[in-house]
Symmetry: C2
Subunit: 189 residues, 2 copies
DNA sequence: TGTACATCAGTGAACGCGCGTTCACTGATGTAC
DNA sequence: TGTACATCAGTGAACGCGCGTTCACTGATGTAC
Protein backbone atom coordinates (compact mmCIF):
# COMPACT_ATOMS: atom_id res chain seq x y z
CA UNK A 1 0.00 0.00 0.00
CA UNK A 2 2.31 2.73 -1.15
CA UNK A 3 0.85 6.20 -0.76
CA UNK A 4 1.29 9.55 -2.51
CA UNK A 5 4.01 12.08 -1.71
CA UNK A 6 2.13 14.09 0.88
CA UNK A 7 0.61 11.11 2.63
CA UNK A 8 3.34 10.36 5.16
CA UNK A 9 3.73 13.95 6.31
CA UNK A 10 -0.03 14.29 6.63
CA UNK A 11 -0.28 11.13 8.73
CA UNK A 12 2.59 12.30 10.95
CA UNK A 13 0.75 15.58 11.51
CA UNK A 14 -2.47 13.72 12.29
CA UNK A 15 -0.66 11.57 14.89
CA UNK A 16 0.98 14.61 16.52
CA UNK A 17 -2.27 16.53 16.70
CA UNK A 18 -4.29 13.61 18.02
CA UNK A 19 -1.60 12.57 20.53
CA UNK A 20 -1.42 16.13 21.87
CA UNK A 21 -5.12 16.02 22.68
CA UNK A 22 -4.87 12.54 24.21
CA UNK A 23 -1.87 13.52 26.37
CA UNK A 24 -3.76 16.56 27.67
CA UNK A 25 -6.80 14.42 28.45
CA UNK A 26 -5.18 11.33 30.02
CA UNK A 27 -1.63 12.46 30.79
CA UNK A 28 1.57 11.26 29.16
CA UNK A 29 2.01 8.17 31.37
CA UNK A 30 -1.72 7.54 31.02
CA UNK A 31 -1.70 7.39 27.22
CA UNK A 32 -0.55 4.07 25.76
CA UNK A 33 0.90 3.68 22.25
CA UNK A 34 -2.01 1.44 21.17
CA UNK A 35 -4.55 4.07 22.24
CA UNK A 36 -2.60 6.91 20.63
CA UNK A 37 -2.45 5.10 17.30
CA UNK A 38 -5.98 3.71 17.27
CA UNK A 39 -7.15 7.30 17.93
CA UNK A 40 -5.92 7.98 14.42
CA UNK A 41 -7.11 4.71 12.88
CA UNK A 42 -3.77 2.90 12.80
CA UNK A 43 -2.18 -0.03 14.65
CA UNK A 44 0.41 0.50 17.39
CA UNK A 45 3.42 -0.62 15.33
CA UNK A 46 2.79 2.15 12.76
CA UNK A 47 4.08 4.66 15.32
CA UNK A 48 7.63 3.56 14.56
CA UNK A 49 7.36 4.47 10.89
CA UNK A 50 7.01 8.09 12.05
CA UNK A 51 8.83 8.37 15.41
CA UNK A 52 11.81 6.63 16.95
CA UNK A 53 10.00 6.13 20.27
CA UNK A 54 7.00 7.25 22.31
CA UNK A 55 9.20 9.91 23.88
CA UNK A 56 10.01 11.25 20.42
CA UNK A 57 6.28 11.63 19.81
CA UNK A 58 5.84 13.29 23.22
CA UNK A 59 8.41 15.94 22.28
CA UNK A 60 6.81 16.55 18.87
CA UNK A 61 3.30 16.75 20.35
CA UNK A 62 4.53 19.13 23.07
CA UNK A 63 6.10 21.51 20.54
CA UNK A 64 2.92 21.39 18.44
CA UNK A 65 0.68 22.06 21.44
CA UNK A 66 2.80 25.00 22.61
CA UNK A 67 2.75 26.43 19.08
CA UNK A 68 -1.04 26.05 18.94
CA UNK A 69 -1.40 27.75 22.31
CA UNK A 70 0.85 30.57 21.06
CA UNK A 71 -1.34 30.98 17.99
CA UNK A 72 -4.48 31.06 20.10
CA UNK A 73 -2.89 33.88 22.10
CA UNK A 74 -1.71 35.79 19.03
CA UNK A 75 -5.27 35.79 17.68
CA UNK A 76 -6.29 38.35 20.32
CA UNK A 77 -5.97 42.08 19.64
CA UNK A 78 -2.63 43.65 20.51
CA UNK A 79 -3.90 45.82 23.33
CA UNK A 80 -4.90 45.67 26.96
CA UNK A 81 -8.48 44.63 26.06
CA UNK A 82 -7.13 41.70 24.07
CA UNK A 83 -4.96 40.55 26.97
CA UNK A 84 -7.87 40.81 29.37
CA UNK A 85 -10.09 38.80 27.05
CA UNK A 86 -7.37 36.15 26.72
CA UNK A 87 -7.20 35.83 30.51
CA UNK A 88 -10.99 35.57 30.83
CA UNK A 89 -11.18 32.94 28.11
CA UNK A 90 -8.22 31.02 29.52
CA UNK A 91 -9.73 30.81 33.00
CA UNK A 92 -13.23 30.04 31.77
CA UNK A 93 -15.56 27.23 32.81
CA UNK A 94 -15.47 25.94 29.22
CA UNK A 95 -11.69 25.51 29.36
CA UNK A 96 -11.96 23.83 32.75
CA UNK A 97 -14.40 21.23 31.44
CA UNK A 98 -12.51 20.57 28.20
CA UNK A 99 -8.99 19.44 28.92
CA UNK A 100 -8.34 17.99 25.44
CA UNK A 101 -8.90 21.32 23.67
CA UNK A 102 -7.17 23.43 26.31
CA UNK A 103 -3.72 24.69 27.17
CA UNK A 104 -0.95 22.08 27.31
CA UNK A 105 0.59 23.73 30.36
CA UNK A 106 -2.61 23.59 32.39
CA UNK A 107 -2.81 19.88 31.58
CA UNK A 108 0.82 18.76 31.59
CA UNK A 109 3.12 21.28 33.30
CA UNK A 110 3.59 19.09 36.38
CA UNK A 111 4.27 15.99 34.32
CA UNK A 112 6.82 17.80 32.11
CA UNK A 113 8.96 18.38 35.19
CA UNK A 114 9.19 14.59 35.57
CA UNK A 115 10.04 13.93 31.91
CA UNK A 116 13.47 13.10 30.48
CA UNK A 117 16.14 15.77 30.13
CA UNK A 118 15.58 15.81 26.35
CA UNK A 119 11.86 16.46 26.67
CA UNK A 120 12.43 19.19 29.26
CA UNK A 121 15.02 20.78 26.99
CA UNK A 122 12.50 20.77 24.14
CA UNK A 123 9.94 22.41 26.41
CA UNK A 124 12.46 24.99 27.63
CA UNK A 125 13.61 25.95 24.13
CA UNK A 126 10.06 26.32 22.89
CA UNK A 127 8.92 28.35 25.89
CA UNK A 128 11.91 30.66 26.17
CA UNK A 129 11.84 31.41 22.45
CA UNK A 130 8.10 32.07 22.44
CA UNK A 131 8.44 35.83 22.33
CA UNK A 132 4.93 36.63 21.25
CA UNK A 133 3.44 36.70 24.75
CA UNK A 134 6.26 38.73 26.26
CA UNK A 135 6.64 41.28 23.49
CA UNK A 136 2.93 41.93 23.59
CA UNK A 137 2.73 42.39 27.32
CA UNK A 138 5.66 44.80 27.48
CA UNK A 139 7.05 45.75 24.06
CA UNK A 140 9.77 47.99 25.50
CA UNK A 141 11.41 45.56 27.94
CA UNK A 142 11.56 42.07 26.36
CA UNK A 143 14.12 40.22 28.59
CA UNK A 144 12.49 40.70 31.99
CA UNK A 145 9.05 40.87 30.37
CA UNK A 146 9.53 37.33 29.15
CA UNK A 147 9.98 36.11 32.73
CA UNK A 148 7.00 38.15 33.87
CA UNK A 149 4.80 36.78 31.11
CA UNK A 150 5.77 33.15 31.58
CA UNK A 151 5.35 33.37 35.35
CA UNK A 152 1.89 34.89 35.01
CA UNK A 153 1.08 32.16 32.49
CA UNK A 154 2.24 29.42 34.90
CA UNK A 155 0.13 30.97 37.66
CA UNK A 156 -2.92 30.82 35.43
CA UNK A 157 -2.13 27.20 34.57
CA UNK A 158 -1.91 26.37 38.29
CA UNK A 159 -5.24 28.08 38.91
CA UNK A 160 -6.84 26.01 36.16
CA UNK A 161 -5.36 22.83 37.63
CA UNK A 162 -6.93 23.63 41.00
CA UNK A 163 -10.29 24.35 39.38
CA UNK A 164 -10.11 21.00 37.61
CA UNK A 165 -9.11 19.12 40.76
CA UNK A 166 -12.02 20.44 42.84
CA UNK A 167 -15.24 18.42 42.80
CA UNK A 168 -17.22 21.37 44.23
CA UNK A 169 -18.23 23.20 41.03
CA UNK A 170 -19.28 26.39 42.78
CA UNK A 171 -16.00 26.56 44.63
CA UNK A 172 -14.13 25.86 41.38
CA UNK A 173 -16.07 28.65 39.65
CA UNK A 174 -15.05 31.03 42.43
CA UNK A 175 -11.41 29.97 42.05
CA UNK A 176 -11.52 30.76 38.33
CA UNK A 177 -13.10 34.18 38.99
CA UNK A 178 -10.48 34.94 41.62
CA UNK A 179 -7.79 33.77 39.19
CA UNK A 180 -9.00 36.31 36.62
CA UNK A 181 -8.88 39.09 39.24
CA UNK A 182 -5.36 38.08 40.28
CA UNK A 183 -4.12 37.94 36.70
CA UNK A 184 -5.56 41.38 35.97
CA UNK A 185 -3.87 42.80 39.08
CA UNK A 186 -0.53 41.33 38.00
CA UNK A 187 -0.97 42.69 34.48
CA UNK A 188 -0.78 46.21 35.90
CA UNK A 189 2.38 45.58 37.94
CA UNK B 1 5.01 -13.60 62.51
CA UNK B 2 2.39 -11.96 64.65
CA UNK B 3 3.33 -8.47 65.78
CA UNK B 4 2.53 -6.27 68.76
CA UNK B 5 -0.55 -4.06 69.05
CA UNK B 6 0.94 -0.88 67.62
CA UNK B 7 2.81 -2.62 64.83
CA UNK B 8 0.13 -2.57 62.14
CA UNK B 9 -0.80 1.06 62.61
CA UNK B 10 2.87 2.06 62.57
CA UNK B 11 3.46 0.16 59.32
CA UNK B 12 0.40 1.74 57.75
CA UNK B 13 1.72 5.18 58.66
CA UNK B 14 5.15 4.31 57.27
CA UNK B 15 3.58 3.23 53.96
CA UNK B 16 1.49 6.40 53.69
CA UNK B 17 4.42 8.66 54.46
CA UNK B 18 6.79 6.87 52.09
CA UNK B 19 4.20 6.62 49.30
CA UNK B 20 3.48 10.35 49.59
CA UNK B 21 7.12 11.11 48.93
CA UNK B 22 7.32 8.62 46.06
CA UNK B 23 4.15 9.98 44.42
CA UNK B 24 5.55 13.51 44.59
CA UNK B 25 8.83 12.37 43.07
CA UNK B 26 7.63 10.04 40.27
CA UNK B 27 3.94 10.87 39.95
CA UNK B 28 0.98 8.63 40.82
CA UNK B 29 0.92 6.76 37.50
CA UNK B 30 4.71 6.56 37.67
CA UNK B 31 4.82 4.81 41.07
CA UNK B 32 4.19 1.07 40.95
CA UNK B 33 2.91 -0.95 43.90
CA UNK B 34 6.14 -3.00 44.02
CA UNK B 35 8.25 0.16 44.26
CA UNK B 36 5.96 1.74 46.85
CA UNK B 37 6.19 -1.32 49.10
CA UNK B 38 9.88 -2.05 48.65
CA UNK B 39 10.52 1.60 49.61
CA UNK B 40 9.30 0.55 53.03
CA UNK B 41 11.00 -2.87 53.08
CA UNK B 42 7.94 -5.00 52.28
CA UNK B 43 6.72 -7.05 49.31
CA UNK B 44 3.99 -5.79 46.98
CA UNK B 45 1.24 -8.10 48.28
CA UNK B 46 1.57 -6.62 51.78
CA UNK B 47 -0.13 -3.47 50.49
CA UNK B 48 -3.49 -5.27 50.62
CA UNK B 49 -3.23 -5.97 54.33
CA UNK B 50 -3.43 -2.19 54.82
CA UNK B 51 -5.35 -0.80 51.85
CA UNK B 52 -8.12 -2.11 49.61
CA UNK B 53 -6.35 -0.89 46.46
CA UNK B 54 -3.61 1.39 45.17
CA UNK B 55 -6.23 4.12 44.79
CA UNK B 56 -7.10 3.75 48.47
CA UNK B 57 -3.44 4.36 49.30
CA UNK B 58 -3.35 7.35 46.93
CA UNK B 59 -6.24 8.97 48.81
CA UNK B 60 -4.63 8.30 52.20
CA UNK B 61 -1.25 9.61 51.07
CA UNK B 62 -2.87 12.69 49.57
CA UNK B 63 -4.68 13.54 52.82
CA UNK B 64 -1.47 13.00 54.77
CA UNK B 65 0.55 15.20 52.41
CA UNK B 66 -1.98 18.01 52.51
CA UNK B 67 -2.03 17.81 56.31
CA UNK B 68 1.78 17.97 56.41
CA UNK B 69 1.78 20.96 54.07
CA UNK B 70 -0.81 22.62 56.31
CA UNK B 71 1.41 22.03 59.34
CA UNK B 72 4.43 23.45 57.55
CA UNK B 73 2.38 26.58 56.89
CA UNK B 74 1.05 26.84 60.44
CA UNK B 75 4.62 26.79 61.77
CA UNK B 76 5.18 30.33 60.45
CA UNK B 77 4.34 33.35 62.63
CA UNK B 78 0.80 34.64 62.40
CA UNK B 79 1.65 37.97 60.80
CA UNK B 80 2.52 39.50 57.49
CA UNK B 81 6.24 38.71 57.96
CA UNK B 82 5.39 35.04 58.50
CA UNK B 83 3.32 34.92 55.34
CA UNK B 84 6.07 36.58 53.36
CA UNK B 85 8.63 34.11 54.67
CA UNK B 86 6.34 31.21 53.78
CA UNK B 87 6.10 32.49 50.21
CA UNK B 88 9.85 32.94 49.92
CA UNK B 89 10.51 29.45 51.29
CA UNK B 90 7.82 27.89 49.12
CA UNK B 91 9.22 29.39 45.92
CA UNK B 92 12.85 28.69 46.83
CA UNK B 93 15.52 26.95 44.76
CA UNK B 94 15.74 24.27 47.47
CA UNK B 95 12.05 23.40 47.05
CA UNK B 96 12.44 23.35 43.28
CA UNK B 97 15.26 20.82 43.46
CA UNK B 98 13.60 18.60 46.05
CA UNK B 99 10.25 17.38 44.82
CA UNK B 100 9.94 14.52 47.34
CA UNK B 101 10.07 16.84 50.36
CA UNK B 102 7.98 19.58 48.82
CA UNK B 103 4.35 20.58 48.45
CA UNK B 104 1.98 17.90 47.14
CA UNK B 105 0.11 20.45 45.04
CA UNK B 106 3.23 21.64 43.23
CA UNK B 107 4.00 17.99 42.41
CA UNK B 108 0.56 16.49 41.81
CA UNK B 109 -2.13 19.12 41.24
CA UNK B 110 -2.35 18.40 37.51
CA UNK B 111 -2.53 14.67 38.07
CA UNK B 112 -5.23 14.98 40.73
CA UNK B 113 -7.53 16.51 38.11
CA UNK B 114 -7.22 13.24 36.18
CA UNK B 115 -7.86 10.98 39.20
CA UNK B 116 -11.09 9.15 40.01
CA UNK B 117 -14.11 10.98 41.38
CA UNK B 118 -13.43 9.50 44.83
CA UNK B 119 -9.85 10.77 44.94
CA UNK B 120 -10.89 14.21 43.71
CA UNK B 121 -13.61 14.31 46.37
CA UNK B 122 -11.04 13.46 49.03
CA UNK B 123 -8.82 16.26 47.75
CA UNK B 124 -11.72 18.71 47.65
CA UNK B 125 -12.88 17.93 51.18
CA UNK B 126 -9.38 18.27 52.58
CA UNK B 127 -8.64 21.52 50.76
CA UNK B 128 -11.94 23.27 51.39
CA UNK B 129 -11.83 22.41 55.07
CA UNK B 130 -8.23 23.56 55.46
CA UNK B 131 -9.12 26.83 57.12
CA UNK B 132 -5.69 27.61 58.52
CA UNK B 133 -4.36 29.37 55.43
CA UNK B 134 -7.49 31.39 54.82
CA UNK B 135 -8.12 32.46 58.40
CA UNK B 136 -4.54 33.62 58.67
CA UNK B 137 -4.55 35.62 55.47
CA UNK B 138 -7.80 37.44 56.26
CA UNK B 139 -9.15 36.67 59.75
CA UNK B 140 -12.22 38.91 59.30
CA UNK B 141 -13.58 37.50 56.02
CA UNK B 142 -13.20 33.70 56.00
CA UNK B 143 -15.55 32.57 53.16
CA UNK B 144 -14.12 34.63 50.29
CA UNK B 145 -10.69 34.60 51.93
CA UNK B 146 -10.64 30.84 51.53
CA UNK B 147 -11.04 31.18 47.76
CA UNK B 148 -8.41 33.92 47.68
CA UNK B 149 -5.96 31.85 49.70
CA UNK B 150 -6.41 28.66 47.70
CA UNK B 151 -6.15 30.51 44.39
CA UNK B 152 -2.92 32.20 45.45
CA UNK B 153 -1.65 28.82 46.60
CA UNK B 154 -2.48 27.21 43.26
CA UNK B 155 -0.71 30.05 41.46
CA UNK B 156 2.41 29.43 43.52
CA UNK B 157 2.18 25.70 42.76
CA UNK B 158 1.95 26.50 39.02
CA UNK B 159 4.98 28.77 39.28
CA UNK B 160 6.95 26.00 40.96
CA UNK B 161 5.90 23.55 38.24
CA UNK B 162 7.23 25.90 35.56
CA UNK B 163 10.50 26.36 37.43
CA UNK B 164 10.87 22.57 37.62
CA UNK B 165 10.04 22.07 33.95
CA UNK B 166 12.66 24.56 32.71
CA UNK B 167 16.14 23.19 32.02
CA UNK B 168 17.63 26.71 32.01
CA UNK B 169 18.48 27.18 35.73
CA UNK B 170 18.99 30.93 35.50
CA UNK B 171 15.65 31.37 33.80
CA UNK B 172 14.01 29.11 36.39
CA UNK B 173 15.60 31.17 39.19
CA UNK B 174 14.16 34.32 37.63
CA UNK B 175 10.72 32.69 37.41
CA UNK B 176 10.82 31.84 41.13
CA UNK B 177 11.88 35.40 42.02
CA UNK B 178 9.09 36.81 39.87
CA UNK B 179 6.67 34.37 41.50
CA UNK B 180 7.58 35.74 44.93
CA UNK B 181 6.99 39.30 43.72
CA UNK B 182 3.62 38.32 42.23
CA UNK B 183 2.52 36.53 45.38
CA UNK B 184 3.47 39.51 47.53
CA UNK B 185 1.50 41.86 45.28
CA UNK B 186 -1.56 39.61 45.51
CA UNK B 187 -1.19 39.41 49.28
CA UNK B 188 -1.94 43.15 49.46
CA UNK B 189 -5.01 42.98 47.23
C1' DT C 1 2.35 2.73 -24.11
C1' DG C 2 2.92 -1.46 -21.52
C1' DT C 3 5.29 -4.19 -18.29
C1' DA C 4 8.48 -5.43 -14.57
C1' DC C 5 10.31 -3.99 -10.52
C1' DA C 6 11.41 -1.14 -6.28
C1' DT C 7 9.48 1.36 -2.61
C1' DC C 8 7.75 1.81 2.00
C1' DA C 9 3.47 3.03 5.12
C1' DG C 10 1.13 0.13 7.62
C1' DT C 11 -0.15 -4.81 9.46
C1' DG C 12 -0.40 -8.61 12.71
C1' DA C 13 1.84 -11.28 15.76
C1' DA C 14 5.04 -11.70 19.07
C1' DC C 15 8.77 -10.04 22.47
C1' DG C 16 10.03 -9.31 27.54
C1' DC C 17 8.48 -6.68 31.19
C1' DG C 18 6.02 -4.42 34.95
C1' DC C 19 1.47 -3.39 36.18
C1' DG C 20 -2.36 -4.12 40.07
C1' DT C 21 -4.32 -7.85 42.39
C1' DT C 22 -5.28 -12.66 44.39
C1' DC C 23 -4.25 -16.65 47.05
C1' DA C 24 -2.54 -20.41 49.78
C1' DC C 25 0.65 -20.34 53.10
C1' DT C 26 4.04 -19.11 57.17
C1' DG C 27 5.34 -18.50 61.74
C1' DA C 28 6.06 -15.35 65.78
C1' DT C 29 3.24 -13.74 69.19
C1' DG C 30 -1.01 -13.02 72.18
C1' DT C 31 -4.53 -15.53 74.51
C1' DA C 32 -7.17 -19.29 76.82
C1' DC C 33 -7.11 -23.12 79.71
C1' DT D 1 3.05 -21.85 85.35
C1' DG D 2 2.98 -24.50 81.18
C1' DT D 3 0.92 -25.84 77.01
C1' DA D 4 -2.16 -25.77 73.04
C1' DC D 5 -4.30 -22.99 69.93
C1' DA D 6 -5.93 -18.79 67.27
C1' DT D 7 -4.49 -14.74 65.07
C1' DC D 8 -2.98 -12.17 61.16
C1' DA D 9 1.02 -9.16 59.04
C1' DG D 10 3.66 -10.39 55.62
C1' DT D 11 5.55 -13.85 51.87
C1' DG D 12 6.24 -15.84 47.35
C1' DA D 13 4.28 -17.25 43.41
C1' DA D 14 1.07 -16.67 40.14
C1' DC D 15 -2.93 -14.27 37.61
C1' DG D 16 -4.45 -11.64 33.33
C1' DC D 17 -3.37 -7.54 31.20
C1' DG D 18 -1.37 -3.61 28.81
C1' DC D 19 2.94 -1.52 28.24
C1' DG D 20 6.72 0.00 24.54
C1' DT D 21 9.10 -2.10 20.92
C1' DT D 22 10.65 -5.40 17.10
C1' DC D 23 10.11 -7.97 12.97
C1' DA D 24 8.85 -10.44 8.84
C1' DC D 25 5.60 -9.42 5.75
C1' DT D 26 1.96 -7.06 2.49
C1' DG D 27 0.44 -4.80 -1.47
C1' DA D 28 -0.84 -0.41 -3.81
C1' DT D 29 1.62 2.87 -6.13
C1' DG D 30 5.57 5.38 -8.42
C1' DT D 31 9.31 4.65 -11.45
C1' DA D 32 12.41 2.66 -15.03
C1' DC D 33 12.79 0.46 -19.27
Amino acid sequence: MRYGKEHKGATRRRIIESAGRRFKKDGIDGSGVSTLMSDVGLTNAALYAHFSSKEDLVAAALIDQLRQQGERFTAYTRDRAGLEQFIRDYLSVEQRDNRADGCPCAALLGEIGRCSVDTKQTFTDTMVNADNIASRMAPDDPPSARVKALTLFAMMAGTMQLARALMDREFADAVLAQGVQNALVLLDT
